[in-house]
Subunit: 328 residues, 2 copies
Protein backbone atom coordinates (compact mmCIF):
# COMPACT_ATOMS: atom_id res chain seq x y z
CA UNK A 1 0.00 0.00 0.00
CA UNK A 2 2.76 2.53 0.72
CA UNK A 3 4.91 3.42 -2.33
CA UNK A 4 8.47 2.09 -2.67
CA UNK A 5 9.87 5.60 -2.14
CA UNK A 6 8.22 6.01 1.24
CA UNK A 7 9.18 2.44 2.13
CA UNK A 8 12.77 3.44 1.66
CA UNK A 9 12.44 6.49 3.89
CA UNK A 10 10.61 4.45 6.51
CA UNK A 11 13.24 1.70 6.54
CA UNK A 12 13.34 0.07 10.00
CA UNK A 13 16.75 0.22 11.71
CA UNK A 14 17.27 -3.36 12.91
CA UNK A 15 19.76 -5.91 14.20
CA UNK A 16 20.30 -9.59 13.54
CA UNK A 17 20.31 -11.55 16.79
CA UNK A 18 21.82 -14.99 17.23
CA UNK A 19 21.14 -17.08 20.33
CA UNK A 20 23.24 -20.20 20.91
CA UNK A 21 21.82 -22.43 23.62
CA UNK A 22 22.27 -26.00 24.78
CA UNK A 23 19.40 -27.18 22.57
CA UNK A 24 18.56 -24.58 19.95
CA UNK A 25 20.25 -22.18 17.58
CA UNK A 26 18.04 -19.21 16.89
CA UNK A 27 18.28 -16.11 14.73
CA UNK A 28 15.96 -13.11 14.81
CA UNK A 29 15.44 -9.76 13.15
CA UNK A 30 14.94 -7.24 15.96
CA UNK A 31 13.93 -3.61 15.41
CA UNK A 32 14.92 -0.54 17.44
CA UNK A 33 11.76 -0.75 19.57
CA UNK A 34 12.58 -4.28 20.68
CA UNK A 35 10.05 -6.07 18.51
CA UNK A 36 11.07 -9.39 16.98
CA UNK A 37 10.04 -9.08 13.33
CA UNK A 38 11.01 -12.61 12.31
CA UNK A 39 12.51 -15.59 14.13
CA UNK A 40 14.29 -18.75 12.90
CA UNK A 41 14.91 -21.83 15.04
CA UNK A 42 17.07 -24.90 14.36
CA UNK A 43 18.62 -27.57 16.56
CA UNK A 44 22.10 -26.45 17.68
CA UNK A 45 24.54 -28.87 15.93
CA UNK A 46 27.00 -30.87 18.04
CA UNK A 47 30.14 -30.00 16.11
CA UNK A 48 31.95 -26.72 15.67
CA UNK A 49 31.95 -26.86 11.84
CA UNK A 50 28.27 -27.62 11.44
CA UNK A 51 27.38 -24.96 13.99
CA UNK A 52 29.41 -22.20 12.31
CA UNK A 53 28.00 -23.20 8.90
CA UNK A 54 24.42 -23.08 10.21
CA UNK A 55 24.87 -19.71 11.99
CA UNK A 56 26.04 -18.10 8.76
CA UNK A 57 23.37 -19.80 6.64
CA UNK A 58 20.57 -18.71 8.99
CA UNK A 59 21.92 -15.13 9.11
CA UNK A 60 22.06 -14.99 5.29
CA UNK A 61 18.45 -16.23 5.07
CA UNK A 62 17.41 -13.59 7.59
CA UNK A 63 19.25 -10.85 5.68
CA UNK A 64 17.36 -11.85 2.54
CA UNK A 65 14.03 -11.72 4.38
CA UNK A 66 14.99 -8.38 5.96
CA UNK A 67 14.87 -6.76 2.52
CA UNK A 68 11.24 -7.79 2.09
CA UNK A 69 10.46 -6.53 5.61
CA UNK A 70 12.07 -3.20 4.71
CA UNK A 71 14.63 -3.58 7.55
CA UNK A 72 18.11 -2.11 7.48
CA UNK A 73 20.42 -4.57 9.31
CA UNK A 74 22.98 -2.54 11.30
CA UNK A 75 25.01 -5.50 12.57
CA UNK A 76 24.93 -8.89 14.27
CA UNK A 77 24.65 -9.51 18.02
CA UNK A 78 25.43 -12.99 19.32
CA UNK A 79 24.33 -14.42 22.67
CA UNK A 80 25.97 -17.71 23.60
CA UNK A 81 26.36 -20.01 26.56
CA UNK A 82 29.85 -20.04 28.08
CA UNK A 83 32.39 -17.39 29.04
CA UNK A 84 32.97 -14.72 26.39
CA UNK A 85 35.57 -12.04 25.76
CA UNK A 86 33.26 -9.40 24.28
CA UNK A 87 36.16 -7.12 23.34
CA UNK A 88 37.45 -9.73 20.92
CA UNK A 89 34.19 -11.54 20.14
CA UNK A 90 35.63 -14.85 21.34
CA UNK A 91 34.01 -17.70 23.31
CA UNK A 92 36.69 -18.58 25.87
CA UNK A 93 35.20 -21.67 27.45
CA UNK A 94 31.84 -23.32 27.84
CA UNK A 95 30.42 -26.09 29.98
CA UNK A 96 29.49 -29.30 28.18
CA UNK A 97 25.99 -28.04 27.38
CA UNK A 98 27.49 -26.74 24.11
CA UNK A 99 30.19 -29.03 22.71
CA UNK A 100 33.37 -27.98 20.84
CA UNK A 101 32.83 -24.41 22.00
CA UNK A 102 36.05 -23.19 23.67
CA UNK A 103 38.53 -20.64 22.24
CA UNK A 104 36.15 -19.90 19.37
CA UNK A 105 36.47 -16.60 17.49
CA UNK A 106 32.92 -15.80 16.46
CA UNK A 107 33.45 -12.24 15.28
CA UNK A 108 35.91 -12.81 12.42
CA UNK A 109 34.13 -15.55 10.43
CA UNK A 110 30.63 -14.10 10.87
CA UNK A 111 31.80 -10.59 10.03
CA UNK A 112 33.76 -11.83 7.00
CA UNK A 113 30.83 -13.88 5.69
CA UNK A 114 28.15 -11.22 6.13
CA UNK A 115 30.02 -7.92 5.80
CA UNK A 116 28.54 -6.70 9.07
CA UNK A 117 29.98 -5.74 12.47
CA UNK A 118 29.59 -8.45 15.11
CA UNK A 119 29.15 -8.19 18.89
CA UNK A 120 29.27 -11.22 21.21
CA UNK A 121 28.47 -11.73 24.89
CA UNK A 122 27.19 -14.59 27.00
CA UNK A 123 23.49 -15.29 27.43
CA UNK A 124 23.34 -14.02 31.02
CA UNK A 125 24.97 -10.72 30.15
CA UNK A 126 22.73 -10.38 27.07
CA UNK A 127 19.67 -10.89 29.28
CA UNK A 128 20.88 -8.06 31.52
CA UNK A 129 21.43 -5.80 28.48
CA UNK A 130 17.89 -6.61 27.30
CA UNK A 131 16.46 -5.57 30.67
CA UNK A 132 18.51 -2.36 30.60
CA UNK A 133 17.23 -1.35 27.16
CA UNK A 134 13.72 -2.82 26.98
CA UNK A 135 12.73 -4.23 30.39
CA UNK A 136 12.49 -3.53 34.12
CA UNK A 137 16.13 -2.40 34.16
CA UNK A 138 15.47 0.83 32.25
CA UNK A 139 16.76 3.79 34.27
CA UNK A 140 17.94 1.46 37.11
CA UNK A 141 21.61 2.10 37.90
CA UNK A 142 22.37 -1.19 39.70
CA UNK A 143 20.47 -4.39 39.03
CA UNK A 144 20.97 -8.11 38.58
CA UNK A 145 19.12 -10.50 36.31
CA UNK A 146 19.00 -14.24 37.00
CA UNK A 147 17.79 -16.74 34.42
CA UNK A 148 16.48 -19.99 35.85
CA UNK A 149 16.11 -22.26 32.84
CA UNK A 150 17.85 -25.56 32.02
CA UNK A 151 20.86 -24.07 33.82
CA UNK A 152 21.18 -20.84 35.80
CA UNK A 153 22.84 -17.76 34.38
CA UNK A 154 22.72 -14.04 34.89
CA UNK A 155 24.25 -10.64 34.45
CA UNK A 156 25.08 -7.69 36.69
CA UNK A 157 24.60 -4.03 35.78
CA UNK A 158 26.69 -1.72 37.99
CA UNK A 159 26.43 2.03 37.38
CA UNK A 160 24.57 1.32 34.12
CA UNK A 161 27.25 -1.02 32.72
CA UNK A 162 27.84 -4.77 32.74
CA UNK A 163 30.42 -6.15 35.15
CA UNK A 164 32.64 -8.42 33.04
CA UNK A 165 35.49 -8.90 35.51
CA UNK A 166 39.21 -9.34 34.99
CA UNK A 167 38.93 -12.65 33.07
CA UNK A 168 35.33 -12.26 31.80
CA UNK A 169 34.18 -14.63 34.52
CA UNK A 170 32.00 -12.18 36.49
CA UNK A 171 28.28 -12.85 36.98
CA UNK A 172 28.69 -16.62 36.76
CA UNK A 173 25.67 -16.60 39.02
CA UNK A 174 24.75 -20.27 38.53
CA UNK A 175 28.00 -21.23 40.23
CA UNK A 176 27.49 -19.30 43.45
CA UNK A 177 27.91 -21.92 46.17
CA UNK A 178 25.50 -22.21 49.08
CA UNK A 179 26.85 -25.39 50.61
CA UNK A 180 30.26 -26.75 51.58
CA UNK A 181 29.22 -30.04 50.02
CA UNK A 182 25.90 -30.29 48.20
CA UNK A 183 24.89 -31.86 44.88
CA UNK A 184 27.32 -32.08 41.96
CA UNK A 185 27.12 -29.31 39.38
CA UNK A 186 27.69 -29.21 35.61
CA UNK A 187 30.89 -27.26 36.35
CA UNK A 188 32.42 -30.25 38.14
CA UNK A 189 32.17 -28.67 41.60
CA UNK A 190 29.54 -29.05 44.32
CA UNK A 191 26.94 -26.91 46.06
CA UNK A 192 26.32 -24.40 43.23
CA UNK A 193 22.81 -22.92 43.04
CA UNK A 194 22.52 -24.39 39.51
CA UNK A 195 22.84 -27.87 41.03
CA UNK A 196 19.89 -27.17 43.37
CA UNK A 197 17.51 -24.91 41.49
CA UNK A 198 17.97 -25.20 37.69
CA UNK A 199 15.50 -27.01 35.47
CA UNK A 200 17.98 -29.87 35.08
CA UNK A 201 18.45 -30.15 38.85
CA UNK A 202 14.69 -30.30 39.43
CA UNK A 203 14.31 -32.85 36.63
CA UNK A 204 17.04 -34.98 38.25
CA UNK A 205 15.12 -34.91 41.56
CA UNK A 206 11.78 -35.58 39.83
CA UNK A 207 13.26 -38.65 38.14
CA UNK A 208 14.73 -39.84 41.42
CA UNK A 209 11.33 -39.59 43.15
CA UNK A 210 9.62 -41.20 40.15
CA UNK A 211 12.05 -44.15 40.22
CA UNK A 212 11.15 -44.70 43.87
CA UNK A 213 7.46 -44.34 42.94
CA UNK A 214 7.23 -41.25 45.17
CA UNK A 215 6.41 -38.60 42.57
CA UNK A 216 2.68 -39.31 42.38
CA UNK A 217 0.06 -37.23 44.13
CA UNK A 218 -3.68 -37.73 44.37
CA UNK A 219 -5.33 -36.71 41.11
CA UNK A 220 -2.02 -36.72 39.22
CA UNK A 221 -1.64 -38.98 36.24
CA UNK A 222 1.78 -39.73 34.74
CA UNK A 223 1.76 -41.76 31.51
CA UNK A 224 4.38 -44.48 31.19
CA UNK A 225 5.79 -43.00 28.00
CA UNK A 226 5.93 -39.45 29.35
CA UNK A 227 9.42 -38.02 30.01
CA UNK A 228 9.69 -36.84 33.62
CA UNK A 229 10.48 -33.10 33.97
CA UNK A 230 10.64 -30.30 36.53
CA UNK A 231 7.00 -29.55 35.70
CA UNK A 232 5.95 -32.88 37.24
CA UNK A 233 7.71 -31.93 40.44
CA UNK A 234 5.92 -28.57 40.59
CA UNK A 235 2.54 -30.27 39.90
CA UNK A 236 3.15 -32.92 42.56
CA UNK A 237 4.10 -30.26 45.12
CA UNK A 238 0.98 -28.20 44.31
CA UNK A 239 -1.12 -31.33 44.87
CA UNK A 240 0.41 -31.79 48.30
CA UNK A 241 3.16 -34.38 47.72
CA UNK A 242 5.48 -33.67 50.70
CA UNK A 243 8.60 -35.14 49.05
CA UNK A 244 8.15 -32.87 46.02
CA UNK A 245 7.47 -29.91 48.31
CA UNK A 246 10.69 -30.59 50.24
CA UNK A 247 12.78 -30.69 47.03
CA UNK A 248 11.30 -27.39 45.80
CA UNK A 249 11.69 -25.79 49.22
CA UNK A 250 15.39 -26.67 49.24
CA UNK A 251 15.78 -25.41 45.65
CA UNK A 252 14.10 -22.11 46.52
CA UNK A 253 16.19 -21.69 49.66
CA UNK A 254 19.40 -22.36 47.70
CA UNK A 255 18.45 -19.84 45.00
CA UNK A 256 17.40 -17.30 47.64
CA UNK A 257 20.64 -17.69 49.61
CA UNK A 258 22.61 -17.34 46.36
CA UNK A 259 20.78 -14.08 45.68
CA UNK A 260 21.44 -12.89 49.26
CA UNK A 261 25.15 -13.42 48.49
CA UNK A 262 24.79 -11.21 45.41
CA UNK A 263 23.10 -8.54 47.55
CA UNK A 264 25.94 -8.65 50.11
CA UNK A 265 28.60 -8.38 47.40
CA UNK A 266 27.26 -5.82 44.86
CA UNK A 267 24.05 -4.58 46.57
CA UNK A 268 21.80 -3.89 43.56
CA UNK A 269 18.40 -2.19 44.01
CA UNK A 270 16.54 -4.67 41.79
CA UNK A 271 16.62 -8.41 41.03
CA UNK A 272 14.93 -9.49 37.79
CA UNK A 273 14.09 -13.17 37.45
CA UNK A 274 13.61 -14.72 34.01
CA UNK A 275 13.46 -18.21 32.52
CA UNK A 276 10.72 -20.82 32.80
CA UNK A 277 10.96 -21.11 36.60
CA UNK A 278 10.99 -17.34 37.29
CA UNK A 279 7.36 -16.96 38.34
CA UNK A 280 7.61 -20.06 40.54
CA UNK A 281 10.70 -18.75 42.39
CA UNK A 282 9.71 -15.10 42.83
CA UNK A 283 7.74 -15.41 46.07
CA UNK A 284 10.07 -17.86 47.92
CA UNK A 285 13.15 -15.80 46.93
CA UNK A 286 11.55 -12.69 48.43
CA UNK A 287 10.84 -14.67 51.57
CA UNK A 288 14.44 -15.92 51.89
CA UNK A 289 15.76 -12.36 51.43
CA UNK A 290 13.47 -11.05 54.19
CA UNK A 291 14.66 -13.85 56.49
CA UNK A 292 18.38 -13.92 55.73
CA UNK A 293 19.66 -10.67 54.21
CA UNK A 294 21.17 -7.86 56.27
CA UNK A 295 18.60 -5.21 57.18
CA UNK A 296 20.37 -2.64 55.00
CA UNK A 297 19.81 -4.71 51.84
CA UNK A 298 16.21 -5.74 52.43
CA UNK A 299 14.79 -2.82 50.44
CA UNK A 300 15.66 -4.76 47.26
CA UNK A 301 12.83 -5.36 44.79
CA UNK A 302 12.37 -8.80 43.16
CA UNK A 303 10.40 -8.90 39.90
CA UNK A 304 9.89 -11.30 37.01
CA UNK A 305 10.82 -10.17 33.52
CA UNK A 306 8.19 -8.97 31.09
CA UNK A 307 10.43 -9.73 28.10
CA UNK A 308 9.72 -12.83 26.02
CA UNK A 309 13.22 -13.23 24.65
CA UNK A 310 15.89 -11.64 26.90
CA UNK A 311 18.88 -13.27 25.18
CA UNK A 312 17.80 -12.33 21.62
CA UNK A 313 16.81 -8.79 22.65
CA UNK A 314 20.05 -8.25 24.58
CA UNK A 315 22.16 -9.48 21.68
CA UNK A 316 20.28 -7.03 19.45
CA UNK A 317 20.81 -4.19 21.95
CA UNK A 318 24.61 -4.45 21.58
CA UNK A 319 24.15 -3.65 17.87
CA UNK A 320 21.41 -1.04 18.29
CA UNK A 321 23.14 0.86 21.13
CA UNK A 322 26.46 0.99 19.30
CA UNK A 323 25.16 1.75 15.83
CA UNK A 324 23.06 4.67 17.09
CA UNK A 325 25.52 6.08 19.63
CA UNK A 326 26.02 9.85 19.71
CA UNK A 327 29.74 9.93 20.51
CA UNK A 328 32.66 8.39 18.62
CA UNK B 1 68.98 20.66 63.30
CA UNK B 2 67.08 22.24 60.36
CA UNK B 3 66.05 25.87 60.88
CA UNK B 4 62.44 26.87 61.54
CA UNK B 5 62.14 28.51 58.11
CA UNK B 6 63.05 25.35 56.25
CA UNK B 7 60.77 23.40 58.59
CA UNK B 8 57.90 25.53 57.39
CA UNK B 9 58.67 24.94 53.73
CA UNK B 10 59.12 21.24 54.37
CA UNK B 11 55.76 20.94 56.20
CA UNK B 12 54.44 17.38 55.84
CA UNK B 13 51.01 17.15 54.19
CA UNK B 14 49.09 14.78 56.48
CA UNK B 15 45.71 13.43 57.49
CA UNK B 16 44.11 12.58 60.80
CA UNK B 17 42.81 9.01 60.79
CA UNK B 18 40.20 7.66 63.16
CA UNK B 19 39.52 3.92 63.48
CA UNK B 20 36.43 2.80 65.40
CA UNK B 21 36.48 -0.91 66.15
CA UNK B 22 34.66 -3.28 68.48
CA UNK B 23 37.35 -2.89 71.14
CA UNK B 24 39.49 0.15 70.45
CA UNK B 25 39.19 3.73 69.33
CA UNK B 26 42.36 4.85 67.60
CA UNK B 27 43.58 8.08 66.07
CA UNK B 28 46.70 8.55 63.95
CA UNK B 29 48.61 11.21 62.09
CA UNK B 30 49.36 9.78 58.64
CA UNK B 31 51.57 11.46 56.07
CA UNK B 32 51.29 11.42 52.28
CA UNK B 33 53.74 8.50 51.98
CA UNK B 34 51.58 6.32 54.22
CA UNK B 35 53.76 6.52 57.30
CA UNK B 36 52.02 6.71 60.68
CA UNK B 37 53.78 9.55 62.48
CA UNK B 38 51.91 9.19 65.76
CA UNK B 39 49.18 6.90 67.04
CA UNK B 40 46.74 7.15 69.97
CA UNK B 41 44.73 4.24 71.36
CA UNK B 42 41.84 4.19 73.85
CA UNK B 43 39.11 1.71 74.69
CA UNK B 44 36.07 2.41 72.50
CA UNK B 45 33.36 3.64 74.95
CA UNK B 46 30.00 1.83 75.10
CA UNK B 47 27.79 4.88 74.75
CA UNK B 48 27.27 7.27 71.87
CA UNK B 49 27.96 10.43 73.91
CA UNK B 50 31.21 9.20 75.48
CA UNK B 51 32.40 7.91 72.11
CA UNK B 52 31.78 11.18 70.27
CA UNK B 53 33.42 13.14 73.10
CA UNK B 54 36.50 10.92 73.03
CA UNK B 55 36.84 11.03 69.21
CA UNK B 56 36.93 14.82 69.28
CA UNK B 57 39.23 14.99 72.29
CA UNK B 58 41.73 12.56 70.73
CA UNK B 59 41.65 14.44 67.41
CA UNK B 60 42.31 17.75 69.20
CA UNK B 61 45.26 16.21 71.04
CA UNK B 62 46.62 14.89 67.75
CA UNK B 63 46.22 18.27 66.06
CA UNK B 64 48.23 19.86 68.86
CA UNK B 65 50.98 17.25 68.45
CA UNK B 66 50.91 17.69 64.67
CA UNK B 67 52.23 21.23 65.06
CA UNK B 68 55.33 19.92 66.85
CA UNK B 69 55.77 17.26 64.18
CA UNK B 70 55.56 19.97 61.51
CA UNK B 71 52.54 18.30 59.91
CA UNK B 72 49.80 20.16 58.05
CA UNK B 73 46.51 18.32 58.72
CA UNK B 74 44.44 18.39 55.52
CA UNK B 75 41.33 16.72 56.95
CA UNK B 76 39.94 13.81 58.96
CA UNK B 77 39.23 10.31 57.63
CA UNK B 78 37.12 7.98 59.73
CA UNK B 79 37.01 4.19 59.43
CA UNK B 80 34.22 2.54 61.40
CA UNK B 81 32.52 -0.81 61.77
CA UNK B 82 28.99 -0.94 60.32
CA UNK B 83 27.33 0.26 57.13
CA UNK B 84 28.21 3.82 56.13
CA UNK B 85 26.81 6.36 53.69
CA UNK B 86 30.10 7.99 52.67
CA UNK B 87 28.37 10.72 50.67
CA UNK B 88 26.78 12.05 53.86
CA UNK B 89 29.36 10.82 56.39
CA UNK B 90 26.70 8.87 58.30
CA UNK B 91 26.86 5.45 60.00
CA UNK B 92 23.59 3.82 58.91
CA UNK B 93 23.64 0.68 60.99
CA UNK B 94 26.11 -1.48 62.83
CA UNK B 95 26.09 -4.94 64.36
CA UNK B 96 26.24 -5.12 68.14
CA UNK B 97 30.06 -5.09 68.16
CA UNK B 98 29.72 -1.29 68.43
CA UNK B 99 26.77 -0.22 70.56
CA UNK B 100 24.54 2.86 70.01
CA UNK B 101 25.98 3.25 66.52
CA UNK B 102 23.10 3.46 64.03
CA UNK B 103 21.94 6.57 62.14
CA UNK B 104 24.93 8.51 63.44
CA UNK B 105 26.09 11.62 61.57
CA UNK B 106 29.85 11.66 62.12
CA UNK B 107 30.75 14.36 59.61
CA UNK B 108 28.86 17.32 61.07
CA UNK B 109 29.98 17.22 64.73
CA UNK B 110 33.61 16.32 63.96
CA UNK B 111 33.87 18.91 61.20
CA UNK B 112 32.24 21.57 63.43
CA UNK B 113 34.51 20.81 66.37
CA UNK B 114 37.78 20.69 64.42
CA UNK B 115 37.20 23.01 61.47
CA UNK B 116 38.35 20.31 59.06
CA UNK B 117 36.67 18.36 56.26
CA UNK B 118 35.62 14.86 57.27
CA UNK B 119 35.35 11.64 55.21
CA UNK B 120 33.79 8.44 56.55
CA UNK B 121 33.63 4.88 55.25
CA UNK B 122 33.45 1.45 56.82
CA UNK B 123 36.55 -0.45 57.90
CA UNK B 124 36.42 -2.95 55.05
CA UNK B 125 36.18 -0.26 52.42
CA UNK B 126 38.96 1.72 54.11
CA UNK B 127 41.20 -1.37 54.01
CA UNK B 128 40.59 -1.61 50.25
CA UNK B 129 41.42 2.08 49.81
CA UNK B 130 44.65 1.55 51.77
CA UNK B 131 45.66 -1.32 49.46
CA UNK B 132 44.85 0.81 46.40
CA UNK B 133 47.03 3.71 47.56
CA UNK B 134 49.82 2.06 49.57
CA UNK B 135 49.60 -1.74 49.19
CA UNK B 136 49.31 -4.64 46.77
CA UNK B 137 46.33 -2.99 45.10
CA UNK B 138 48.38 -0.21 43.48
CA UNK B 139 47.74 -0.20 39.72
CA UNK B 140 45.35 -3.19 40.01
CA UNK B 141 42.03 -2.36 38.36
CA UNK B 142 39.88 -5.04 40.07
CA UNK B 143 40.70 -6.48 43.47
CA UNK B 144 39.10 -7.54 46.72
CA UNK B 145 40.44 -7.28 50.23
CA UNK B 146 39.19 -9.49 53.06
CA UNK B 147 39.97 -8.80 56.69
CA UNK B 148 39.83 -11.83 58.95
CA UNK B 149 40.00 -10.42 62.46
CA UNK B 150 37.47 -10.57 65.32
CA UNK B 151 34.83 -10.43 62.57
CA UNK B 152 35.22 -10.61 58.79
CA UNK B 153 34.98 -7.53 56.58
CA UNK B 154 36.22 -6.42 53.24
CA UNK B 155 36.02 -4.08 50.30
CA UNK B 156 35.80 -4.41 46.53
CA UNK B 157 37.63 -2.23 44.01
CA UNK B 158 36.05 -2.39 40.54
CA UNK B 159 37.65 -0.35 37.77
CA UNK B 160 39.77 1.46 40.37
CA UNK B 161 36.79 2.52 42.50
CA UNK B 162 34.99 1.09 45.54
CA UNK B 163 31.69 -0.69 44.97
CA UNK B 164 29.30 0.84 47.52
CA UNK B 165 26.02 -0.47 46.11
CA UNK B 166 22.54 1.00 46.02
CA UNK B 167 22.09 1.11 49.82
CA UNK B 168 25.78 1.12 50.85
CA UNK B 169 25.54 -2.55 51.68
CA UNK B 170 27.97 -3.87 49.04
CA UNK B 171 31.08 -5.79 50.09
CA UNK B 172 29.49 -7.09 53.29
CA UNK B 173 31.84 -9.99 52.73
CA UNK B 174 31.58 -11.46 56.22
CA UNK B 175 27.92 -12.22 55.55
CA UNK B 176 28.41 -14.27 52.39
CA UNK B 177 26.62 -17.54 53.13
CA UNK B 178 28.18 -20.89 52.37
CA UNK B 179 25.58 -23.11 54.01
CA UNK B 180 21.80 -23.37 53.98
CA UNK B 181 21.96 -23.82 57.74
CA UNK B 182 25.31 -23.50 59.51
CA UNK B 183 26.37 -21.73 62.72
CA UNK B 184 24.62 -18.57 63.93
CA UNK B 185 26.23 -15.27 62.93
CA UNK B 186 26.48 -11.88 64.64
CA UNK B 187 24.00 -10.59 62.01
CA UNK B 188 21.27 -12.88 63.32
CA UNK B 189 21.35 -15.19 60.29
CA UNK B 190 23.12 -18.51 59.74
CA UNK B 191 25.89 -19.91 57.55
CA UNK B 192 27.84 -16.65 57.00
CA UNK B 193 31.62 -17.03 56.55
CA UNK B 194 32.08 -14.80 59.63
CA UNK B 195 30.34 -17.47 61.71
CA UNK B 196 32.84 -20.10 60.50
CA UNK B 197 36.13 -18.33 60.03
CA UNK B 198 36.37 -15.13 62.11
CA UNK B 199 38.49 -14.86 65.25
CA UNK B 200 35.31 -14.94 67.36
CA UNK B 201 34.06 -18.07 65.60
CA UNK B 202 37.39 -19.87 66.15
CA UNK B 203 37.43 -18.73 69.79
CA UNK B 204 33.90 -20.11 70.23
CA UNK B 205 35.04 -23.50 68.87
CA UNK B 206 38.25 -23.42 70.94
CA UNK B 207 36.20 -22.85 74.10
CA UNK B 208 33.80 -25.63 73.15
CA UNK B 209 36.70 -28.08 72.73
CA UNK B 210 38.34 -26.83 75.93
CA UNK B 211 35.12 -27.35 77.91
CA UNK B 212 35.06 -30.94 76.68
CA UNK B 213 38.77 -31.23 77.56
CA UNK B 214 39.56 -31.85 73.87
CA UNK B 215 41.70 -28.79 73.11
CA UNK B 216 44.95 -30.19 74.51
CA UNK B 217 47.72 -31.60 72.37
CA UNK B 218 50.95 -33.30 73.39
CA UNK B 219 53.43 -30.68 74.48
CA UNK B 220 50.77 -27.99 74.81
CA UNK B 221 50.27 -26.32 78.16
CA UNK B 222 47.15 -24.25 78.90
CA UNK B 223 47.12 -22.44 82.24
CA UNK B 224 43.89 -22.47 84.22
CA UNK B 225 43.70 -18.69 84.32
CA UNK B 226 44.46 -18.22 80.63
CA UNK B 227 41.55 -17.01 78.43
CA UNK B 228 40.99 -19.44 75.53
CA UNK B 229 41.43 -17.88 72.09
CA UNK B 230 41.68 -18.75 68.40
CA UNK B 231 45.45 -18.94 68.88
CA UNK B 232 45.04 -22.02 71.11
CA UNK B 233 43.10 -23.71 68.34
CA UNK B 234 45.83 -22.97 65.80
CA UNK B 235 48.52 -24.25 68.21
CA UNK B 236 46.59 -27.42 68.99
CA UNK B 237 46.07 -28.11 65.26
CA UNK B 238 49.78 -27.56 64.54
CA UNK B 239 50.58 -30.09 67.30
CA UNK B 240 48.36 -32.66 65.64
CA UNK B 241 45.08 -32.38 67.58
CA UNK B 242 42.60 -33.83 65.04
CA UNK B 243 39.54 -32.02 66.51
CA UNK B 244 41.29 -28.67 66.22
CA UNK B 245 42.43 -29.54 62.71
CA UNK B 246 38.86 -30.38 61.70
CA UNK B 247 37.53 -27.04 62.99
CA UNK B 248 40.23 -25.09 61.13
CA UNK B 249 39.71 -27.13 57.98
CA UNK B 250 36.01 -26.30 57.99
CA UNK B 251 36.78 -22.62 58.68
CA UNK B 252 39.25 -22.50 55.79
CA UNK B 253 36.84 -24.25 53.45
CA UNK B 254 34.04 -21.83 54.39
CA UNK B 255 36.29 -18.79 53.82
CA UNK B 256 37.57 -20.27 50.55
CA UNK B 257 34.07 -21.01 49.24
CA UNK B 258 32.99 -17.49 50.21
CA UNK B 259 35.90 -16.13 48.19
CA UNK B 260 34.98 -18.40 45.24
CA UNK B 261 31.54 -16.75 45.36
CA UNK B 262 33.20 -13.33 45.13
CA UNK B 263 35.23 -14.54 42.12
CA UNK B 264 32.08 -15.80 40.37
CA UNK B 265 30.24 -12.52 41.00
CA UNK B 266 32.82 -9.74 40.38
CA UNK B 267 35.87 -11.69 39.10
CA UNK B 268 38.77 -9.62 40.49
CA UNK B 269 42.36 -10.39 39.49
CA UNK B 270 43.70 -10.22 43.06
CA UNK B 271 42.53 -11.16 46.57
CA UNK B 272 44.36 -9.47 49.45
CA UNK B 273 43.99 -11.05 52.89
CA UNK B 274 44.59 -8.99 56.02
CA UNK B 275 43.86 -9.28 59.73
CA UNK B 276 45.46 -11.55 62.33
CA UNK B 277 44.41 -14.77 60.59
CA UNK B 278 45.50 -13.73 57.07
CA UNK B 279 48.77 -15.65 56.92
CA UNK B 280 47.07 -18.75 58.35
CA UNK B 281 44.31 -18.71 55.72
CA UNK B 282 46.34 -17.86 52.63
CA UNK B 283 47.42 -21.35 51.62
CA UNK B 284 44.11 -23.18 52.31
CA UNK B 285 42.15 -20.45 50.49
CA UNK B 286 44.35 -20.90 47.41
CA UNK B 287 43.73 -24.63 47.62
CA UNK B 288 39.93 -24.22 47.81
CA UNK B 289 40.00 -21.88 44.80
CA UNK B 290 42.00 -24.38 42.76
CA UNK B 291 39.52 -27.12 43.69
CA UNK B 292 36.21 -25.29 43.43
CA UNK B 293 36.40 -22.20 41.20
CA UNK B 294 35.54 -22.20 37.50
CA UNK B 295 38.61 -22.68 35.31
CA UNK B 296 38.25 -19.15 33.92
CA UNK B 297 38.71 -17.59 37.35
CA UNK B 298 41.58 -19.71 38.63
CA UNK B 299 44.24 -17.27 37.46
CA UNK B 300 43.41 -15.15 40.54
CA UNK B 301 46.30 -14.28 42.85
CA UNK B 302 45.92 -14.54 46.64
CA UNK B 303 48.34 -12.50 48.77
CA UNK B 304 48.57 -11.27 52.35
CA UNK B 305 48.76 -7.55 52.99
CA UNK B 306 52.07 -5.87 53.72
CA UNK B 307 50.34 -2.95 55.43
CA UNK B 308 50.38 -2.79 59.24
CA UNK B 309 47.28 -0.66 59.59
CA UNK B 310 44.92 -0.96 56.60
CA UNK B 311 41.94 0.76 58.25
CA UNK B 312 43.93 3.79 59.48
CA UNK B 313 45.82 4.13 56.18
CA UNK B 314 42.64 3.83 54.12
CA UNK B 315 40.85 6.43 56.21
CA UNK B 316 43.83 8.72 55.65
CA UNK B 317 43.79 8.03 51.91
CA UNK B 318 40.28 9.50 51.58
CA UNK B 319 41.70 12.78 52.88
CA UNK B 320 45.01 12.65 51.02
CA UNK B 321 43.49 11.68 47.63
CA UNK B 322 40.82 14.35 47.82
CA UNK B 323 42.95 17.17 49.19
CA UNK B 324 45.63 16.67 46.53
CA UNK B 325 43.32 15.95 43.56
CA UNK B 326 44.13 17.71 40.29
CA UNK B 327 40.56 18.30 39.08
CA UNK B 328 37.73 20.19 40.78
CA1 LIG C 1 26.76 -14.48 33.41
CA1 LIG D 1 32.65 -4.02 53.55
ZN1 LIG E 1 28.75 -25.04 39.34
ZN1 LIG F 1 26.18 -12.89 59.05
Amino acid sequence: PISQDIDHILETQSALSVDLGGTNLRVAIVCMKGNILKKYTETNPNTFEERMFLIIKMCKDAMRDAVGLNCRILGVGVSTGGRVNPQEGVVLHSTNLIQEWSSVDLRTPISDALGLSVWVDNDGNCAALAERKFGHGRRVENFVTIITGTGIGGGIIHQNELIHGSTFCAAELGHIKVSLEGPECSCGSHGCIEAYASGLALQREAKRLHDEDLLKAEGMDIKLSEPITAAHLVSAARMGNPKAEAVLCKASTALGVGIVNILHIVNPSLVILSGVLASYYKEPVQHVISEKALISSQSIKVVTTDLDEPALLGAASMVLDYATRRTY
